[in-house]
């Protein structure tokens, strides 16, 4: 790799947003160098773990049924973020998704019908055939064919930004440092969720018990360099997409299979064998994303989802087998919980149940009365052995702290001026749209929209 060449565009990162930018810019005639910190096998950042893109459409489109209008998409986003979003940028991301589908197909991405167990997303989310890694593979093949230069295991260690103007980046590749000059730069290097030290700064000691669901390569180096160079930040370091996942998952890169979907069918207790939140508040996909933060707020950041034989096999199969016991006391001992406390919690829960007609396909009338916290739906007595438990930990998918951008994906400086030749796309700027909460498949929508815009604008800037 000849790093001394004169590039129109340097792209920092190698996931969906970076690839969309690289392909768009190269097709516009720009010479492009893309530097990816991961080795080829693990390329693609968190995009390799994704599976779909939330897509607006006025009529049936490709694999998507019916319609998903802009307004409904926007309202869904408003709900999960509680208003912590930039409406102009959010609507831009939403509107562009409709034209992404044919563009993605043209560049090698294939789609499939919604996966087993995901019918609730059939109308809103377009699933990639083979998932995100297949998408990433298709984009890399496309970028290579177009003549994008790609360097793997290439880490950005420094950036020279003078008064909002990118001059060069210093990269570490095969043990040697190189200074790379380019007329424009796209920062698409993800968040900082794999940087355990930074997580600890933000969260304190509880961060030690977090599991990182995605790539171990998102260390936030580019984000840190940009913030140091005077970029305006968005969101805050404790915000991110954080779900409750199986505590036995690998520290990094466990991806989709680490999820535990049993929560709404039973109860969740903490280290003290006490319940701490309504497990039946709303449908699981809607409430899925709050449980990471809920478990993070418990002592030792651990929770245990407990169900009985009635519920076994009625949810998406998790990757690890459940802890299983014939009595609640034995289950408590197997989990290292106080047996009497767990028995008391379950007895209190069972006694509070108001008889209803159980139906996990709707917000049914099986609820509790007179206990705190309540369980508003799907409350059934935990009384049929054997009993099962899944230990839960907070699982961070990605962080929202990022750099502010405008509609041209230009990075904003602290004074609000756009940087002249620095663009940002993907997770590194997702916080503009997602101040908190998460909506399935919106990460890929943001990455694809701002990746394409950044590629277009950066190429225009570089080529005059």
């Amino acid at each position: 790799m000849d790093f001394s060449r004169d590039f129109d565009l340097l792209i920092l990162g190698g996931g969906n947003a970076a690839l969309c930018a690289a392909i768009t810019a190269r097709e516009a005639g720009a010479s492009v160098l893309l530097v990816e910190s991961a080795p080829r096998h693990f390329r693609g950042g968190n995009s390799r773990h994704t599976r779909n893109m939330r897509t607006m459409h006025g009529a049936p489109l490709d694999v998507l049924a019916d319609a998903y209008p802009e307004q409904e998409y926007w309202e869904d986003l408003l709900k999960v973020t509680g208003g912590l979003t930039d409406e102009r940028l959010a609507r831009l991301a939403i509107r562009r998704t409709e034209e992404h589908l044919p563009w993605m197909r043209r560049h090698g991405v294939r789609f499939q019908a919604p996966l087993g167990g995901t019918l609730h997303l059939a109308r809103t989310n377009a699933f990639f055939l083979g998932g995100g890694k297949a998408l990433v593979n298709a984009y890399y093949a496309c970028a290579e064919a177009l003549g994008v230069d790609i360097a793997y295991e290439c880490e950005v260690v420094d950036m020279s930004v003078v008064d909002g103007r990118f001059e060069s980046a210093t990269v570490l590749h095969a043990g040697a440092e190189h200074r790379v000059r380019a007329r424009a730069c796209v920062a698409a290097a993800g968040g900082f969720e794999s940087n355990l030290e930074w997580l600890r700064e933000a969260w304190g000691p509880p961060a030690d018990n977090f599991i990182i669901r995605g790539t171990p390569y998102n260390l936030g180096k580019v984000l840190k360099l940009l913030l140091a160079a005077g970029a305006r930040s968005v969101s805050d370091p404790t915000q991110g997409h954080c779900v409750a996942i199986d505590a036995r998952s690998p520290k990094f890169d466990g991806g989709i299979v680490t999820r535990v979907d049993a929560v709404s069918l039973g109860i969740v207790v903490n280290r003290d064998a006490r319940r701490f939140y309504d497990e039946g508040e709303d449908f699981w996909p809607k409430r899925y994303a709050i449980w990471g933060r809920l478990v993070a707020g418990q002592p030792d950041q651990i929770g245990y989802a407990i169900i009985d034989a009635k519920s076994m096999g009625k949810f998406m199969p998790p990757v690890f087998p459940p802890v299983r016991a014939g009595t609640l006391g034995e289950l408590a001992r197997a989990l290292g919980l106080d047996a009497a406390s767990l028995e008391a919690t379950v007895a209190g829960f069972n006694a509070a149940i108001v008889r209803g007609t159980f139906d996990h396909t709707r917000l049914d009338d099986c609820a509790t009365r007179g206990i705190e916290p309540p369980k508003r739906h799907w409350a059934r007595a935990i009384d049929t052995p054997p009993f099962f438990a899944y230990p839960l930990r907070p699982g961070i998918t990605f962080t929202y702290l990022g750099v502010a951008v405008d509609e041209k994906a230009r990075m904003l400086m602290q004074d609000g001026r756009p940087a002249s030749n620095i663009f940002a796309a993907g997770e590194i700027m997702a916080g503009n749209v997602l101040g908190k909460g998460y909506l399935a498949g919106i990460g890929m929508a943001i990455g694809t929209t701002f990746g394409r815009i950044a590629g277009e604008e950066a190429a225009r800037h570089a080529r005059g």
């Binding site: 019908a113 990639f128 083979g130 949810f315």
Partner: protein, 379 residues
């Protein structure tokens, strides 16, 4: 890797349980082929399930390239290789008679030795039957050249009994495999799933990688493997049709071979022979360029042995056709019949059995598809 080191069935079932649990929780590969929808119907996986799923898999590799858990990820998930290893266990396990299951341990050797033995047998028999003068003479078609070297009755007896034995052995293997799935024979014969499976098999439906073609021999999707397999399979069927028509000619009309160039058996045989040259050559070529990550190297001998026998069948057959009025006829006839006999006799003990088990697995897939899905709530 020597065949002796191949993992045993028990170890494979345990590994399959681990791998299939990951796949079942992920499901990203659902659109590639029948294997993933089939595994999603299960929460745990028995030995019978592993045989079933392994034989639905075509080792196209799309799922490995798309897999976020593929090596070097710590989950070390290599689905295509696991399925390949499991298929080899199916072949061993359900062979009939059971002791011949060992033929799959060093199948390349077995097929080679069987070929050598069959060639020696046919040459020895012709040497005993025909004097050297007759054997090396040039016979015109009018003189009924083939039967000057080998008696028709001997041919019919040898190949007829070989054919019947092969049919019986394959039927026994099928029967044992089917019983292992836990399905009833009556379900196999139900016309709807049976027709759907035939349709899939005839078009090699799942050799399409979900639309763009298999990632075979490497990561770039292509339909090359499907096309070469079609040439091989339909070439084989045309050759079989040629033989069948010739049998009718012989017994019904009393027309004796060799038949003229423009006759139906010769035209069918030539077309089939051409397919059976290009197809196997293409498959061997693709195989030589195959990504080593995806295969079970202990099975290379089995794969190559069967393809090579098909190729030898067509090459000797075509050579015999075009040189049948020369002095080489005797040699070529003996060589061709020796190869065909070896091909027949090794059908139940070589790569050919994939056709039996895959087809059975496809029928089962279509039977299951008509049943309701297990009651699993949306995630």
């Amino acid at each position: 890797m020597p065949a002796a080191e191949a993992p045993g069935l028990q170890a494979l079932v345990e590994e399959a349980q681990r791998v299939l649990s990951i796949c079942n929780a992920c499901r990203y590969c659902e659109g590639y082929c029948a294997v993933f929808p089939a595994l999603e119907r299960r929460l745990s996986f028995t030995e019978g399930d592993v045989h079933y799923l392994a034989n639905l898999c075509h080792n196209c590799g799309s799922c490995l390239y798309a897999c976020q858990y593929a090596p070097p990820h710590e989950f070390q998930l290599n689905f295509p290789r696991l399925m390949a290893q499991a298929r080899n266990q199916t072949y061993r396990h359900y062979a009939w008679p059971a002791f011949l299951g060992r033929a799959f341990e060093r199948n390349g050797w077995v097929v080679s030795l069987a070929t050598a033995a069959c060639l020696a047998l046919v040459f020895a028999f012709t040497a005993w039957y025909a004097s050297p003068e007759r054997f090396f003479a040039a016979w015109s078609d009018a003189q009924g050249s083939f039967y000057a070297v080998l008696p028709h009755e001997a041919l019919v007896t040898a190949f007829g009994s070989a054919f019947l034995y092969v049919l019986f052995a394959l039927a026994m293997s099928f029967n044992r495999f089917w019983a292992g799935t836990g399905e009833r024979l009556a379900d196999f014969l139900h016309p709807v799933p049976l027709a759907a499976a035939k349709w899939d098999a005839a078009g090699l439906r799942y050799l399409d990688g979900g639309g763009d073609g298999c990632t075979y021999p490497d990561e770039k999707p292509s339909f090359a493997r499907r096309h070469f397999h079609h040439l091989t399979f339909y070439g084989f069927m045309l050759c079989f049709a040629a033989t069948s028509v010739a049998t009718v000619y012989h017994y019904v009309f009393g027309w004796k071979a060799p038949y003229p160039m423009a006759s139906l058996p010769v035209v069918l045989g030539v077309l089939g022979g051409i397919g059976l040259v290009i197809g196997p050559v293409g498959l061997l070529w693709l195989k030589s360029r195959r990504d080593a990550e995806l295969v079970d190297p202990s099975q290379d001998g089995m794969d190559a042995g069967f393809i090579a026998l098909l190729l030898l069948t067509s090459l000797t057959g075509l050579a015999l056709l075009f040189l049948r009025e020369t002095r080489a006829m005797g040699m070529l006839l003996a060589a061709h019949l020796g190869v065909v006999l070896a091909l027949f006799l090794t059908l139940p003990y070589g790569k050919f059995v994939h056709a039996v088990y895959r087809f059975a697995a496809l029928v089962r897939f279509h039977i299951e598809r008509r049943r309701p899905l297990p009651d699993v709530a949306a995630e």
